[in-house]
């Protein structure tokens, strides 16, 4: 036997492919985005309206069957300014990543804020969605280009403090 260095590491590449099925509720949300609309779903028990619902109320564990069409406008509940470059970054830094609570919804989601200097972002800022051109709309969150200030006065802290 010839003397050999012990093997200390081996690479075993693995790739698994999947077909993603959105489900009943998420399909409704995605079809809404395809039409340039935000779709919310209301819990029959606690009456909360969830955006991008997976079909159940996470508090009550019951189907959120009632469909609620939500407006284009909402409030920034909190945010961060991204200054760090990373692999695959598609937006020029610095940019603003915010949690947005649509009017009439009880759950916020993450969105990009544009058309404002980064140092002017603040909690409570009122924003509106900017959609892609109608011919580019699809069943994806990429149908929303970004959010921008809509010029309304800031929301009162009391109206969104529950969603931080």
């Amino acid at each position: 036997m010839s003397e050999r260095e012990p093997v200390t590491m081996m690479a075993a590449t693995t790739r698994l492919d999947y077909v993603f099925r959105a489900g009943v509720a998420q399909s409704k949300n995605l079809h809404g985005l395809e039409q340039g609309k935000f779709i919310g779903q209301r819990c029959p028990k606690c009456k909360k309206v969830y955006t991008l619902s997976r079909g159940s109320c996470p508090t009550d564990g019951v189907p959120t069957d009632e469909i609620v069409e939500l407006p284009n406008t909402g409030t920034v509940t909190t945010y961060c300014i991204v200054n760090v470059p990373f692999a695959g970054q598609s937006i020029e830094i610095p940019y603003i990543c915010a949690q947005i609570l649509l009017d009439g919804a009880n759950l916020s989601f993450m969105g990009l804020i544009q058309e404002i200097p980064t140092d002017e972002i603040r909690m409570g800022m009122r924003v509106e969605a900017v959609w892609v051109e109608p011919e580019d709309l699809g069943p994806t969150m990429a149908s929303v280009q970004y959010f921008r200030p809509n010029g309304e006065p800031d929301a009162d802290y009391e109206t969104y403090k529950e969603y931080l």
Binding site: A12, L16, Y18, R21, G55, C57, G61
Partner: protein, 361 residues
């Protein structure tokens, strides 16, 4: 005072008091995992008139490898609703092992009831590839052996040793699929003789199509309750008198695949042989594995093996083991059995095995 059976495992009598399962299907296209689980959780509570507020612990079994996304067990909790916060745990295993964890917690005596659920779909990915990833990462996984080929090596080893024939495999499949005709949740059920089944061509020799499990999307849930609480929720609880699980080496090549020492040991620890067994629900995804398991558990000729059709009738990943416990409990609730043995397996060629003995009073 209510009457409880003598216990081989544990000190506190814990009974299966409710069971529900999804309609086992080849491909659930419309619903996501949460949407599949919600009706099952609602049914398992609804059967006995309780809600999530009546259980002190929730334990689930599933794996992200089937979903293709991280933390799928966390999002699955939305099917129960866990606000205000609940005591909860998860095992990356079949729901039968989640039931084991809940049983251990119930032994401690601080809670009286627990919900156990599990989910697994075979349809989003390529199950043969996904199951290869669980193998030993150095020598076996890089070869990507599919589970049918590994099971075929096991079946061939039985033939070579003279412990079974292809006709024996066909007899198991014929009986299981005929039993499955009376199981409304069965995915594959038919009345065909072993002779007819032997006319099929090989999938992977010596296994023909009939010896293979179906690919299934499904989920299941069980409620456990301890002591007097079990009788409040169920007229005749299926008490767990013995439960144990054992594992063999990761290396398939280092095992004698024709026997199942881990099942034998778990069965002995759970007290299978102490009294007469009426019903055995064995988690044998491939027909020949039922023969290995029956031998390891020392089941007598009169035992009704897999009256539900077993995993040959429906094989939802991460759930087919818990379903064996649920089906055994149903046999006790109905009076069809006084004592039942449920078995669950995990890993290639019966690597890991859980045995649960259930008794009614």
């Amino acid at each position: 005072m209510s009457e409880f059976p003598g216990l081989v495992s544990g000190r506190r009598p814990v009974g299966v008091v409710s069971f529900a399962q999804y309609d086992n299907v080849r491909r659930e296209d419309a619903r996501n995992e949460v949407e599949m689980l919600m009706p099952v959780v609602a049914e398992v509570f609804g059967n006995i008139g309780i809600t999530k507020d009546d259980v002190g612990f929730i334990c689930s079994g599933s794996t992200d490898y089937l979903v293709g996304g991280p933390f799928s067990f966390v999002t699955a909790l939305d099917a129960v609703g866990v606000w205000p916060p609940r005591a909860e745990s998860h095992v990356e295993m079949d729901g039968a092992w989640a039931l084991y964890e809940a049983w251990v917690l119930l032994q401690e005596g601080e809670i009286d009831a627990a919900l156990v659920y599990c989910f697994g779909r075979s349809s989003p990915g390529d199950l043969s590839e996904i199951l290869a990833v669980q193998l030993d990462p150095y020598y076996l996984a890089p070869l990507w052996p599919d589970p049918t080929s590994l099971a075929a090596l096991q079946a061939q080893a039985m033939i070579d040793k003279g412990t079974a024939t292809e006709a024996d495999f066909a007899a198991v499949a014929s009986r299981s699929r005929r039993s499955a005709l009376s199981n409304p949740k069965a995915q594959v059920a038919y009345d065909r003789s072993p002779e007819e089944l032997l006319k099929e061509g090989y999938e992977v020799a010596p296994l023909r199509r009939h010896a293979l499990p179906p690919l299934t999307d499904g989920c299941a849930a069980v409620v456990l309750a301890a002591g007097e609480r079990a009788y409040e929720l169920c007229e005749r609880p299926a008490f767990i008198t013995g439960i144990d699980h054992r594992i063999e080496t990761h290396s398939v090549g280092a095992r004698d695949l024709t026997i199942s020492p881990s099942t034998k040991l778990a069965g002995a620890k759970a007290g299978v042989g102490a009294k007469k067994v009426d019903v055995a629900e064995l988690h044998a995804p491939f027909a020949h594995q039922e023969l290995i398991l029956s031998e390891a558990l020392g089941l007598a000729d009169g035992v009704a093996v897999n009256p539900s059709g077993g995993a040959l009738a429906a094989n939802p990943m991460m759930s087919a083991g818990l379903i064996r416990i649920g089906e055994s409990a149903r046999a006790i609730w109905s009076g069809q059995a006084d004592r039942a043995v449920a078995h669950a397996t995990s890993g290639p060629c019966l690597q890991q095995n859980l045995v649960c003995v259930l008794e009614g009073v």
